[in-house]
Symmetry: C2
Subunit: 285 residues, 2 copies
């Protein structure tokens, strides 16, 4: 973006929405909904509807609303439109990124500043978002100390009593949650994915699919680890590393993961966030 | 929608954007970009980008901007994002419909009132929209009397001299343009498509694809008639009528039309408009 008055269709809100749409269009993103595949409980059109529904929350973030409030609005709108959880993790990455972009500070330091500025109010908004939609969080790991997200808005007294800012809540889960880990590392994978997409060749959807597979081959997916176990996540990572070079390999891998009900959703969240940063940096379709 | 203060993610702007997304996701829509097919010069991601880019123009329409101004903004935003014409005709239907919805009058009488209230200013905006993007308009038919749209914004003096309101411009083309005909008939096909989608069974994308084929089987596509000729449009209509009942027929038909470079784009425009009305009336994904 250039100039002081960006056209609204070119600003961070539009980029965030388009990032969500390109993420689900990119194919194959093995184990996830994509242009060519539905999952049993989430179809392609649910993802489109979720992206449209999330927009007012993203607008709030771009306009300087608090991260927790903007996130809760984004999730509530997504859930009303899609009637299921389609992009909870992606929105948890996008909201601070959009907020940083709205302050013209979309770089690791800028988004770290957004993270560090979060308050207990933001944590309350984050917990309240869980009341809008069923989020697959798996069993509660022993090392997590923050109040249980299953409590939703009812966690407010415990959050206040423990002085849990949203950044503290994220840091607490960083060992077991890929999205939380982005929050504590200056969105390291997000910016790496953006760089890969910006510097790659071919269509933006092909570059996105390649970035997805690269991420899956190098980071065991946290969502798979929660829903299944760490061994399964590691097997998926190993196979992702193998199929990258095989002709037709990713397509077969995608079919196999869908059939097995294995959904590397955290990797899709990182892809959406990386696409957002790439669009903000001038990548176009 | 109910209540006096609809949630923004459930209002007409969001419905219009989701309608554009569902239109391109529905499959098969023979001869058009859909979830499973790209065209040579328009890929799926261009359609997603066009829908996102058009949004500020749709917001203007919902907020009571003049139809011509809102349309030009929608087209300009679409063109900047998609770098080609992706949804010109669909937006020419959606803008008056969104305007009517913004006034809580989304029915044939309400949109007719929007059409009748258009001025020469609106016509100037409509012509200016042609400067933003290459629109396939074919040869200029003898019966058309309004200034040539190829003039773009330069047509303004001629529009003023001839007192051409936008409704008059549309009426002038109604014999040769499917979108213009909707403007002069109370959006008859649009509301019929909405009714089919609202009353059908199966997923909303399947219902949309069925409504597309029904329209194609009953109305020779005006865009095909312009780009090729009326005989081609009639042959496409006849084949659409035949393949509806054949197992796999629509898929083969879709492959054949793409291979032949025959793009029933006007029928896709009507589908997008019908999806919008269906969403406004409570259809969800």
């Amino acid at each position: 973006m250039t100039g002081t008055s960006p056209r609204p269709e070119e600003g961070p809100v539009a980029d965030a929405e388009l990032a969500l749409l390109l993420e689900v269009a990119a194919t194959p993103t093995p184990g996830n909904v994509d242009r060519r595949r539905d999952l049993e409980d989430i179809r392609f059109e649910h993802m489109l509807a979720g992206a449209v529904g999330a927009r007012p929350g993203l607008e709030a973030a771009a306009n300087g609303a608090s991260v927790g409030d903007a996130f809760e609005r984004a999730v509530a709108g997504m859930a009303r439109r899609a009637a299921r959880n389609t992009q909870f993790g992606a929105l948890l990455l996008l909201v601070p990124l959009v907020r940083a972009a709205g302050e013209s500070r979309l770089d690791p330091a800028g988004v770290e500043a957004v993270v560090e500025a979060t308050t207990v109010e933001d944590a309350v908004g984050f917990y309240a978002a869980f009341d809008h939609v069923a989020v697959g969080v798996g069993e509660r790991p022993d090392e997590v100390e923050a109040p249980d997200v299953a409590a939703g808005a009812d966690a407010e007294p415990a959050l206040r009593a423990g002085d849990w800012t949203l950044s503290a809540v994220m840091a607490d889960s960083a060992g077991v949650d890929d999205v939380a880990r982005e929050w504590t590392t200056g969105f390291e994978r997000t910016f790496a994915v953006a760089e890969r997409i910006a510097s790659g060749e071919g269509t933006v959807l092909d570059r996105a699919a390649e970035a997805f597979l690269e991420q899956l081959a190098t980071h065991p997916d946290g969502h798979v680890a929660k829903r299944h176990d760490e061994a399964t996540a590691e097997r998926v990572r190993e196979r992702a590393a193998m199929v990258r070079e095989e002709s037709g390999g990713p397509e077969t891998f995608a079919a196999d993961l869908v059939a097995a009900g294995i959904n590397p959703g955290s990797t899709a969240d990182v892809l959406a966030a990386g696409l957002f940063v790439a669009l903000e940096r001038g990548v176009s379709v």
